[in-house]
């Protein structure tokens, strides 16, 4: 599996220049490529373009390919590209377990099997027994781990990380960082990390691109 | 020989009656199952209850339901029929029957908005005095010609609180002195409302130099002369009216509320029994009484008319007929029900019907027929229209 970008760039409608220079890169299996840049340069917009979440006022040129399959024209829900944000963005009306179950791939059938898969993921995240908890009662670190497990349960073919560690204090940060990268490498998913913190880039260990 | 002549003769004489009863049977049959939308002023709860009772009776006897459409002003129904005519809806109209008289009737009859003539075809019309010039055949000097059927009698009376007022004014002219002695305690509804206009009319009849002029249409020539004393009287009255004559209650019900609250001492009504009814309902103090000016007061009949495009006109005719039934009229005149005076000709009632009327209960605030005084004839409708316009021109600035 690999995530390839071919001359991808985004232009704001009505503006002559694109937000950033056309980007061509390839993210191999299990690697985490980091995109660095100051605030406002368009890193989040880049992720939106890759994930298929671009707002109406932007046009995207270039191509996004997943396992040599062109997904540029597909809507976001069909691309199988997961995303993690700075805020964990748990669905506030669902319990922790139901949050995880929301994205659980349909390949897992039957209530028992699905429940088991969710419980297993919770165990892995150190949140065993948290199935029926209100996500608002979780700590920042717990939420970040739950968000990752939720994204992974959907069995994505690639993962986008939009500054997912910025809201955490430094000690928690390295802990969560390790947790996330370990899981990504273990499952062999190509990941693209956007951040302004160099330490994240070093921990990711992959190529570093500056926007 | 005689017998053989008698039979065809009887049949020939009876033919019109038979034909009429056959027509009526057709109407009854067509009316069964209909719901008559009776557009009637809804400001009086007891009238509304009476209309509900009528609906229950007609449903039980003839299978005709009645649904009251409560109006704030009769003209709303007229406007509705006009709107339907404007849209080309010449059948299946939403208004089946209207409680109507006076200027509204004149307007509808003149513009061909009424169904009829139908009154002669009603069996119970036999109890009415429909001779030319009688109260039931002339509506504010406009000939009815069978286009509306009577149902209740109206007589203009005043109400006062005997606990606060020793001696109400004896004549219309006397109102000026009374108001000067009790400033701010007298008012009348806005003349754009029927009751307010009637107050002015009542004064006009008493104060006009030659009352017979009022029976003919008003014209530019005779209007000024006939109304000069009226305006002089009103100009003397106005400063002593409630709120200095700058604002007036919308209608007589609001004025009755003012009487009840103690803001004014005199109210007016077209229903002589309404005071007793109001006391019974707790809407006026026990000490309220009715008085009529010495020379008499205006009286007229309330009718029901059927628009030309009414969807359920057969049912409406059945209801109109039921209203003229002596038992219905007696029930209506019962003070505990509605207390409206009957429109039937006492001379045409048979013994049982007459007895029903005699057995009706009485009350202290309920005037006897003699107490109502002489009935003054309504002037031509154009006088009321002009009075209202002239009053507005003078005092609505």
């Amino acid at each position: 599996m690999s995530l390839d970008l071919a001359a991808l760039t985004v232009t704001l409608r009505g503006s002559p220049k694109p937000l950033f220079a056309a980007l061509t890169l390839s993210v191999p299996l299990g690697a985490v490529v980091t995109v660095l840049g100051p605030s406002g340069v368009g890193k989040s917009t880049l992720l939106d373009a890759i994930g298929g979440h671009l707002a109406h006022g932007f046009t995207c040129t270039g191509r996004v390919m997943l396992n040599r399959r062109d997904v540029t024209g597909l809507p976001a829900e069909a691309r199988r590209i997961g995303i993690l944000f700075q805020d964990a963005l748990m669905f506030p009306h669902l319990s922790v377990g139901d949050n995880l179950a929301f994205g659980l791939t349909r390949a897992v059938r039957g209530r028992k099997a699905r429940r088991a898969a969710v419980e297993a993921a919770l165990e892995q995240a150190g949140l065993g027994g948290f199935h029926d908890r209100d996500p608002a009662t979780l700590s920042g670190g717990q939420r970040a781990r739950a968000a990752l497990m939720r994204a992974l349960l959907a069995r994505p073919l690639a993962l986008l990380l939009d500054e997912p560690f910025s809201a955490l204090d430094s000690q928690l940060r390295s802990e969560i960082r390790g947790f996330v990268f370990d899981h990504i490498r273990e499952r062999g998913i190509p990941a693209l990390l956007v951040t302004h913190d160099l330490r994240d880039a070093r921990a990711a260990g992959g190529a570093v691109i500056t926007l | 020989m005689r017998l053989s002549l008698a039979l065809p003769l009887t049949l020939a004489l009876a033919a019109p009656a038979l034909a009429q009863s056959t027509d009526w049977q057709t109407t009854l049959a067509a009316a069964r199952g209909q719901t008559v939308y009776w557009n009637a002023w809804g400001g009086d709860a007891r009238t509304n209850d009476f209309i509900t009772w009528v609906g229950q009776q007609t449903e039980a006897r003839y299978g005709v339901k009645v649904a009251q459409v409560k109006l704030t002003d009769t003209a709303e129904a007229v406007t509705r029929v006009i709107a339907e005519k404007a849209a080309g809806q010449d059948a299946g109209g939403s208004v089946d029957m209207i409680w109507i008289n006076g200027a509204n009737f004149a307007a509808m009859k003149q513009q061909g908005l009424l169904h009829g003539p139908f009154v002669a075809g009603l069996p119970n019309a036999a109890y009415l005095d429909l001779s030319p010039g009688s109260a039931a055949s002339v509506d504010f000097t406009v000939p009815v010609e069978g286009y509306e059927s009577p149902w209740r009698l109206a007589k203009f009376v005043f109400t006062y609180d005997s606990a606060r007022v020793d001696a109400p004014p004896a004549t219309m002219a006397g109102f000026v002195d009374w108001a000067a002695a009790h400033p701010g305690r007298l008012t009348h509804p806005n003349p754009s409302n029927f009751m307010g206009a009637t107050f002015l009319k009542q004064a006009l009849i008493e104060l006009a130099p030659d009352p017979s002029v009022l029976q003919a249409p008003a014209s530019d020539e005779n209007f000024a002369a006939a109304t000069a004393p009226l305006w002089a009287w009103y100009d003397a009255l106005r400063p002593n009216l409630w709120q200095g004559g700058t604002t007036f209650p919308e209608n007589q019900s609001v004025q009755q509320q003012l009487l009840n609250d103690g803001e004014v001492d005199i109210s007016m009504s077209f229903d002589p029994a309404s005071t007793a009814a109001a006391i019974e309902q707790g809407l006026l103090p026990e000490t309220a009484r009715v008085f009529v000016p010495a020379g008499g007061s205006i009286g007229n009949i309330s009718f029901v008319a059927i628009p030309y495009n009414a969807a359920n006109w057969q049912g409406a005719e059945v209801v109109a007929n039921f209203l003229l039934d002596p038992a219905t009229q007696a029930h209506m005149q019962d003070i505990t029900v509605l207390g409206s005076y009957s429109v039937l000709d006492p001379a045409r009632l048979d013994a049982t019907a007459g007895a029903a009327f005699a057995a009706l209960p009485t009350a202290p605030a309920l005037p006897g027929v003699a107490d109502l005084g002489p009935t003054l004839i309504e002037p031509h409708a154009s006088w009321m229209t002009r009075l209202t316009e002239e009053w507005a021109r003078r005092y609505t600035k």
Partner: protein
């Protein structure tokens, strides 16, 4: 990129245009024709200017116009000033959610019911006079003060204020959520400006653009209201809208033509007033900039703020007393002057639903549910369509939504009735639902738009990244999370439906008897006890809807802290 949401947006647009804009246009067209002399039903078939000449000659026309302008502008300006002052004094002590909950009852009570209650309160023989007589004032008979139906329209303005001030308060409070008030206050006071000055110079200029449209709605309403003006306003002559209603209902059918001309004048008055207001805004902005640049710290505005707070508190107390007075009347038998409470009590009216209020209650409830459900469905479809196309709101689309609220009802309802009859949609429930929908839908849209847009888009991106289709995102994420705003918008729409008077009257051929039509009709009768019952019910229904809008989400989301907190998340 595919065209997601295009079909949805097109459908919604067609429904809105056909269902809302078209009727108004048709109605205005019929009114226009009548204003220039064409109404075949009464025999007028020639184009002419006669109706206009007749209109100018009608007694009191100029005074009616003057009264309308004075009461309309006066009430709106006062409401704005009072609401602003109150917010300045109170902000920071009451959170938006608590404030919303406090104001909900005032928004729920229909203006006709409140007006009837206020009329009873301030009348010379009213409750306030009864409470203080004769021990304080020595009055044995009601005084000769023109407190209701006064010639200046002050009572009318009071009745309008009782409703408009809470409305503007709510609008300002929600707008303040988008302005960093505390930071501005801190910065301004550090620079030496008093609290009131900071509000005037820093905060209100930022808040005002956000509340402009609601202010226009208040202005349009104050200029063209009919039922409140009938109950409280001057009567000889009345304001223009009431005069028009009277002319339409007159026995002299020829008056329909000048009445239609006057209805056009009413529309022009609203347009002109808004234009004048906008001009006033520019003037105030220019003068204000100069004032700002001068840098004066100004005298303390504290007395002004205290006065505003006191007046607003007084208004809200008046509103409560008004409804309480009606509730007491509904239980009274005889209540002569000057007793402070009824002399004899009775439950007779309440125990007799068959006498009318039962049917009216059921009908009002049914109509409210139907119109609210339709409006909610249409609003959600519209907003979802916008989301799917990832567009914002087009300016012209916003104008479409506000149009029914700015055009005076009396201007097009008669014409709309004629048009409806022509297409066979005669007097009846469907026509009334349609007519009410014209006004319910805009309010539901206004109430739902902000919270809908404020929903964090990334939540939906996350759901999409997890494989949820647009429909699943709507049903499984958006609607549950927005439950409280949706129910609040529904409660508002329900309240608007309950309060409708003219649309129900005109389009229902008088047969559709709702609580409001009955209450206004009966207020022309002399039995305040019956009016009290109808008014209490009229106020209770929307209040129940508001309470449901608060209680239901709290129940459904009782284990979800994030959703059971804020009012209007």
């Amino acid at each position: 990129m595919t065209e997601p949401g295009r079909a949805l947006r097109a459908t919604v647009l067609v429904l809105v245009l056909g269902g809302i804009i078209l009727p108004i246009t048709l109605g205005l067209w019929e009114t226009l024709r009548a204003a220039f002399g064409i109404l075949p039903a009464i025999g007028a078939r020639e184009l002419s200017l006669e109706p206009w000449r007749a209109l100018v000659a009608l007694p009191g026309f100029a005074t009616s116009l003057r009264l309308t302008l004075i009461t309309g502008f006066g009430a709106t300006l006062l409401a704005l000033v009072l609401a602003t002052g109150f917010c300045a004094a109170v902000h920071g002590r009451i959170g938006a959610s608590a404030g919303g909950r406090l104001l909900a009852p005032y928004l729920a009570a229909p203006h006709a019911a409140l007006a009837i209650g206020v009329a009873f309160l301030i009348a010379p023989s009213g409750w306030i006079a009864r409470l203080i007589s004769p021990w304080l004032t020595g009055w044995t008979l009601p005084p000769q003060i023109a407190s209701v139906h006064d010639g200046w329209g002050l009572a009318l303005m009071l009745g309008l204020l009782v409703k408009e001030v809470p409305f503007l308060l709510l609008v300002i409070l929600s707008a303040l959520g988008q302005v960093p008030v505390r930071q501005h206050l801190a910065a301004g006071r550090a620079l030496g400006y008093g609290r009131g000055m900071v509000w005037l110079k820093l905060i209100m200029p930022q808040v005002y653009p956000l509340i402009r449209l609601p202010v226009f709605i208040v202005l349009a309403f104050a200029l063209s209201v009919v039922d409140v003006a009938i109950i409280l306003g001057p009567s000889n002559p009345p304001t223009l809208a009431v005069a028009i209603t009277r002319w339409y209902a007159s026995a002299d059918t020829r008056l329909i033509l000048p009445a239609s001309a006057a209805a056009l004048v009413q529309g022009a008055v609203v347009i002109g007033a808004i234009a004048l207001w906008v001009g006033g805004e520019r003037l105030v902005a220019a003068l204000g900039l100069r004032w700002l640049r001068a840098g004066g710290r100004g005298r303390s505005a504290e007395p002004g703020l205290m006065a505003a707070s006191a007046l607003v508190a007084g208004l809200m107390g008046l509103g409560v007393l008004a409804l309480a007075g009606l509730a007491v009347w509904s239980l009274a038998w005889r209540w002569p002057w000057p007793l402070a409470l009824p002399a004899s009590w009775s439950l007779a009216g309440w125990l007799n639903p068959g006498s009318g209020w039962g049917g009216a209650l059921a009908l009002t409830l049914g109509l409210g549910l139907a119109t609210t459900a339709l409006a909610l469905g249409l609003a959600i479809a519209w907003l979802e369509g916008e989301d799917r196309a990832r567009r914002g709101r087009a300016g012209w689309a916003a104008a479409l939504i506000y149009l029914p609220l700015l055009v005076p009802q009396i201007g097009f309802l008669y014409g709309l009735n004629v048009a409806a009859l022509r297409i066979g949609l005669g007097g009846g429930i469907p026509a009334v639902i349609w007519a009410q929908e014209l006004f319910v839908f805009p309010y539901v849209m206004i109430a739902l738009s902000e919270p809908w847009r404020a929903l964090d888009a990334r939540l939906l991106h996350t759901a999409a990244a997890l494989g949820a289709s647009p429909l699943r995102r709507l049903l499984a994420v958006k609607l549950p999370v927005l439950l409280r705003p949706i129910l609040t918008a529904a409660a508002i729409g329900f309240g608007v439906s309950v309060a409708q008077y003219l649309p129900t009257l005109f389009l229902g051929a008088g047969r559709v008897a709702t609580l409001t039509t009955e209450a206004v009709t009966l207020s022309s009768g002399s039995d305040r006890r019956v009016v009290g019952i109808y008014a209490v019910l009229q106020a209770a229904l929307p209040l129940a809807a508001y309470l449901a809008a608060i209680a239901l989400p709290a129940m459904v989301h009782r284990n979800r802290r994030a959703l059971s907190g804020e009012f209007g998340a």
